[in-house]
Symmetry: C2
Amino acid sequence: MAAALDVVGIGNAIVDVIAQADDRFLERQGLRKGSMQLIDAARAEELYAAMGPALEMSGGSAGNTMAGIASLGGNGAYIGKVSEDELGRVFAHDMRAIGVRFDAAPLRGGAPTARSLILVTPDAQRTMNTFLGACVELGPEDIPAELVAAAQVTYLEGYLFDPPRAKAAFQKAAELAHAAGRKVSLTLSDAFCVERYRAEFRALIEGHIDILFANETEITALYGTKDFDAALAAVRGHCEIAALTRSEKGSVILAAGATHRIAAAQVAKLVDTTGAGDLYASGFLFGLTHGRDLASCGRLGSLAAAEVIGHFGARPETSLKALAQQAGLL
Amino acid sequence: MAAALDVVGIGNAIVDVIAQADDRFLERQGLRKGSMQLIDAARAEELYAAMGPALEMSGGSAGNTMAGIASLGGNGAYIGKVSEDELGRVFAHDMRAIGVRFDAAPLRGGAPTARSLILVTPDAQRTMNTFLGACVELGPEDIPAELVAAAQVTYLEGYLFDPPRAKAAFQKAAELAHAAGRKVSLTLSDAFCVERYRAEFRALIEGHIDILFANETEITALYGTKDFDAALAAVRGHCEIAALTRSEKGSVILAAGATHRIAAAQVAKLVDTTGAGDLYASGFLFGLTHGRDLASCGRLGSLAAAEVIGHFGARPETSLKALAQQAGLL
């Protein structure tokens, strides 16, 4: 059956609270630069009180990816759990306003909508501190079978391993997608997240994942190696396609014995790397669901990532479709 | 008595909800480009549902001005009314996080924190649609005498004429400031706002205002003329200093018979003009409260305005102090 949707993304529905900070602030607060750490409500209050003025913007890894796909002209849906509060309304509005289907009923009377306190240092690195809030309630009952069956690709973020019941949602979505003859894609999200769940990630990848996204630290964490080439060799054969990003060194795409090396796109001024991997996945999955060859998928990924790291915030400010057309990629 | 504070700003405490839109969207929604219009809660819901994905950021005209003064290294306080809700906590956090004193107790159980739905068109113009929410509760009881007496300048935004009881707060603040031997400053805010309250504005300026800020459309609206030079002639003598901004044509400062013409600062890429006037006032008032001559005050104003129109949002992304030092102005 022809798919009505290009991609359905499943993730932690998060509003980002983005502030600038210097390295000393990270040190004083005991934060690991470049990582995502989970925090509870009390710590979120404390860190928020200590940090600088912020801007609020819808985020969440898979949410950002879906925003990027919509910006390229793609057709998608998103599954994630917000609460019935102001930030939840912001998240839902932003998703729908970009044309991404988002039907999930908000949680009533429970935890508030998730937020990630994101500190951007002058080197453009981001350090994320996420209070999961309502996201912990996401479970298999939130995965509508018809939505997953309607999408060419079901895209899952690795961060979903953190909330307790989302793994079951994960599993259910992957099974539904394969039963409908669709593809399943995963991003590893964060090296520390990979370390928390290494065995489970490997089992999931070997059993269920067709298209894997990871950056260099994540893929090496997955295989417990420091050597990128060793990780490449290990992942080859475990999934149909692996798209591995290496920041300014571009990306490497492995598929059926072939290896494609894609350069990073030029960035006039690097401001905030938040969302770089998420947007690479946007471009790649848009290309893949529109019949492009893998090298073109990688170039679309590089273009989308380059847009988002040139400004604060993890979702595009500029039409990616227009940028891709200007670059001759669409 | 030496002042403990440079400036105390009084204004509508607003969180901005900033989205991109095209001219057709403004037409379809019946919006006047470049203006601020007041909307009620139902219209705010309707317009929000129709507009694109947004980012949320603390705003409010005088709030932005105080943020700019803090970014220049100045010392200020802010008076405005938020509600005890998520956006109110965001507003208060951002004010305190930049080092601006903000002590007002939030409104409990009343209207929500004000928001302005700001549509930025590709020409970088902003069209603002403000739901005043909790701001309508600001009254003279919210003006602490000691705070006003402690500041070299009390700065008032013209938008305060819209909520019903703020005029009395306005009046009280001006009287307290003058009784303490301080200066009172006003920005006219918006040409349509000036037209709504022309007679009252003129009486206020003639009776109470030492330092007036206005742009070309506002000052001509105030005197019911289309001729900028006629407006200049009319305002001269009505207040000690008038600083009149003219977008890319820079600004004109009138004081005690002298006229200073200041060029606009260079902007690499004009993105969003929201906050241009507010930040001009930041630079000007910072200079004035730090003993600079009027031409230097104007140049600091131009520099601060140029920073804020180079990105989305009405508060500086970059340290204005550092920028002013680089430019040899501090």
